[in-house]
Symmetry: C2
Subunit: 196 residues, 2 copies
Amino acid sequence: MKEITLKEKIMIKAVELFSEKGYYGTSIREIANAVECSLPMLYYYFKNKNDLYEEIAYAEFVKINDRLRSKLPKQKHLKEIYTQYVLQRKNLSEYEKSVYRLALKAWMRTERNIDIQAKLKQWEETRIEYSRNLLRKHWGQSQACELLVSIFIRMLENMVDKLVLINEDILEEQIRSEIYMMFEYGAIIAEKSMVQ
Amino acid sequence: MKEITLKEKIMIKAVELFSEKGYYGTSIREIANAVECSLPMLYYYFKNKNDLYEEIAYAEFVKINDRLRSKLPKQKHLKEIYTQYVLQRKNLSEYEKSVYRLALKAWMRTERNIDIQAKLKQWEETRIEYSRNLLRKHWGQSQACELLVSIFIRMLENMVDKLVLINEDILEEQIRSEIYMMFEYGAIIAEKSMVQ
DNA sequence: TGGCCTATCTATCGTTCGTTAGATTTATTT
DNA sequence: AAATAAATCTAACGAACGATAGATAGGCCA
């Protein structure tokens, strides 16, 4: 029976509203009303509006991602790991999805949050680079494989964007099929470039 | 010597600011100052702030897309047409890119612009469906081809998102290579599913 | 020249914004 | 029970917001 503190309530509602109507589109009064507390309480728990925004758009986003990564299967085939990676994002809770949406929007420079955007950009880039290396190791380093990796990452990003940002549903079977197909193709390409 | 009217100046600056700082993050005073005209002039040419926003985020976006589509090569191979499609977006002017960005953001529900978002969504869906059919005709209708089409469209969307939304550069050679590779793969898949 | 649009302005309205000061209640410690 | 600390409140600040009223300037037709 973990009881929920006022601070947590504020964060949850803030995430929901920021994610839905943006930073400037959401007033702290609106958040306070939604939480049913007085306005200055937000200043009791957070330095100011921007502080509140950063705490959820960055800190929570990183927390969620760390949790997801730790839950990813380790010993399975890469194609199944990536399938699970996408499925994790598909099956996020509403709160987590909003946090994720917030971070993606900040990353896409939806508004003027230069500081957190820069942090997120760097964070995202190291993750992408990690994946890129993983896939290189799996498929090879030829020019064709390099292209394949790019295409594959584009596909993954687009899936996550659709699932989280636009809240468009993609069936699990569809996700798995597309990813598996890329690995099927990858095998052909890898073989071809080995021969040459 | 086509001279630029005040209305056009307002639209250009509004696009720039809305695209950069969002709807709520941009005040009409800010636009007026940037244009170096008085505030009520915005109300002389546009009904209100929202009207101004819609006029650029939707009307201009559709106009730009119509122009791009009419300039697309007709008789070339599909893979080259799609390459040109992406290159068109890569080579948009700053103004057009901002308009495009605005529309994509509205589509991604960055803020509370339900009306224009719905219009854009429908517009986008018909375009995607058109492409999907074109590719089906080219690759075939097997299940494998269907997957390929999905992946291909994801790749295209991701490229455009990167080029326009995040302003990340992708070299022309890279764009062409990735698209051509998908068509190479498509030929293999199509052949395979013909045999079975 | 006088009247009439179109284009532009200054000044101001009422509202909402983010933020803070300072009082008050509730919980904890002595 | 008294004293202290933590949590919450009411009330208000100045600034910025979207919007409008009403005046003024310049060009065009009579």
